[in-house]
């Protein structure tokens, strides 16, 4: 009974509504041709709203081959972050009896989010017919409006859609680290589907659609170049809520739960690092000086955070560790994300140093103190690092703090207001994502249950939920 119920829910969520509207659309496909072009243009604007460069959009003649070349590659890089980057980073951190569960979760999320983005996600996020909180555009369903010629700024809209699809993949995938080694696969698929729909798409719309975060009463536009709020704070909070609701792993924290394959963790971290160039420099949507500077500050902040974590750990425990330096690097990558389009080298050092220090504290002392089992430190690194980055973006954007000047108007806006805007965006994201996570997990728990059986957890998810063992 329980089993069949979730199936219907899932299928309904996935297909029913959008299919309905698809039928409708195709009936009037011809008449919409003209509208589509206009909407492509609109999407282009949306995509660039936070970068402050209006494009007149639309015609194929505006497509720049250099920008397109870069953005195709940036898309590949961001996909590479999830598969295999994040999958390996997480896979190495769990015990060998659960490594496949994490890998399959990443793969399945990649597949499902890609489809959801195509079917209705792009409409919910980028559609201009919604409100300040959620977008809509029925012609975007199934990407029915896309043409080979349609442009988004200086790149084909197909590239913009795919680039953003890779963000829609990695964000839910990040969350699985929080409840690794114990949550039911079914429940994970349901949760990420609902959370994607009700938290990822709306926050995308608020931040990058140019809606709520560009329209906060009495505050300047929020700066979130590559996803501090949309991606990291959003996923980090979902992870925190989920890991508390799912509960601790058996034995945690008494039993030592060590990473089963540390080299795998470091391969994964390295791929995240390299792929993040696509994430941050790609968020410029062009191959220009801002993209170049975004790459440079990404590298600097990451290096600083990794080195900071290493020395802090060395000092406080007596040795640096491999997992530590890799986690430090990820903390730096997370924190520089919202600032990458506006910071300069000095700002990157500041953000890298702050995030290395603060995330070290949050993933060690703080987690120990509160006792939640955020297994792979989704909240400790992405949540906390995301907050550090989002807030400091309001500081390092200023030329006096080495800001690259790319933020545009910022000199007219006082730093206090800018920081207030940043904080407001964080608070909104925390509440929004927290509530969506809490409610959806409650519902899923009552329908299919959140946790794998004790016996299954003991023996490992791999051999039970996935019919395989990793190493034979």
């Amino acid at each position: 009974m329980k089993r069949s119920l979730w199936k219907y829910l899932l299928m309904a969520a996935l297909f029913a509504a959008p299919l309905a509207s698809y039928g409708q659309d195709s009936a009037t496909a011809e008449e919409e041709a003209a509208v589509e072009i206009a909407e492509a243009a609109e999407a282009a604007e949306l995509g660039e709203a936070t970068e402050g460069e209006g494009g007149d959009g639309g015609g194929a003649s505006d497509i720049n081959s250099g920008d397109t070349a870069w953005m195709i590659v940036a898309t590949a890089l961001v996909l590479f972050m999830t598969l295999p980057g994040l999958a390996l980073f997480y896979g190495g951190l769990v015990r060998s009896k659960n490594v496949l569960s994490v890998l399959v979760q990443c793969f399945a999320i990649c597949g499902i989010m890609s489809l959801l983005w195509v079917i209705y996600g792009y409409a919910l996020a980028a559609g201009g017919d919604g409100c300040n909180f959620m977008g809509w555009d029925s012609s975007f369903l199934f990407l029915n409006h896309l043409t080979v010629e349609g442009a988004s700024g200086t790149i084909p809209e197909s590239v913009f859609v795919t680039f953003q699809m890779t963000f829609a993949i990695i964000t839910p995938a990040l969350i699985v680290g929080a409840f690794a080694e114990r949550m039911k696969f079914k429940a994970i698929l349901l949760f990420t589907t609902i959370w994607f729909t009700l938290s990822y798409c709306p926050i995308w719309h608020m931040a990058w659609g140019g809606f709520l975060f560009g329209d906060l009463p009495g505050l300047p536009d929020v700066l979130d170049f590559a996803g501090g709020t949309v991606v990291h704070v959003n996923a980090g909070i979902a992870g925190l809520v989920a890991c508390i609701m799912v509960g601790k792993r058996r034995g945690f924290p008494k039993t030592l739960i060590m990473p089963h394959n540390v080299p795998m963790v470091l391969i994964g971290a390295s791929m995240l690092w390299v792929g993040w160039f696509g994430f941050n420099a790609g968020s410029e949507l062009a191959a220009d000086g801002v993209a170049g500077m975004a790459m440079l500050v990404t590298q600097i902040a990451t290096a600083t955070a990794a080195v900071t974590w290493m020395f802090v750990e060395w000092r406080s425990t007596g040795t640096p560790t491999a997992v530590g330096i890799a986690t430090g690097a990820v903390a730096g990558l997370v924190a520089i994300t919202p600032a990458s389009g506006v910071a300069g080298p000095m700002g990157a050092i500041l953000i890298g140093f702050a995030s290395g220090l603060v995330c070290y504290f949050s993933a060690t002392t703080m987690k120990r103190k509160f006792g939640y089992d955020d297994s792979l430190d989704v909240f400790g690194v992405h949540g906390v690092g995301g907050v550090v980055g989002a807030v400091l973006t309001g500081v390092v954007a200023y030329k006096s703090f080495g800001g690259s000047g790319a933020a545009g108007l910022e000199e007219e806006v006082g730093m206090i207001s800018q920081v207030m805007a940043q904080i407001a965006s964080v608070v909104i994201t925390v509440i929004w994502s927290g509530v969506v996570s809490f409610v959806s997990l409650k519902v899923i728990d009552s329908v299919v249950g959140l946790r794998a059986d004790d016996q299954i957890e003991e023996q490992g998810l791999d051999s039970n939920e996935f019919g395989e063992t990793a190493y034979n």
Partner: protein
Amino acid sequence: MKKLEAIIKPFKLEEVKEALGEIGIEGMTVSEVKGFGRQKGHTEIYRGSEYTVDFLPKIKIEVVVADDQSGAAVEAIAKAAKTGKIGDGKVFVIPVEESIRIRTDEKGDEAL
């Protein structure tokens, strides 16, 4: 002296070690083994076919004790390793004629 060989469920190692520690036994040697018995392994899927993996991962503990400790040690192990479910494992008691501590050349019970 006796050598006790205990085949137990992997997650019981900690508890067995503690139980032995309580009766004063700290030295032991542990290895990972595959057990075949009444308890059956999990099912693996490969290319759409299901295969039963007939072994189960088990832990073998080897501990050599003085004759007079043997009974207590067996009991401690059996108690700590018990879940009551199939596959809990066995303890075997094997005679040992001599023990030598390599570091000191001590022999017999001294060497344990």
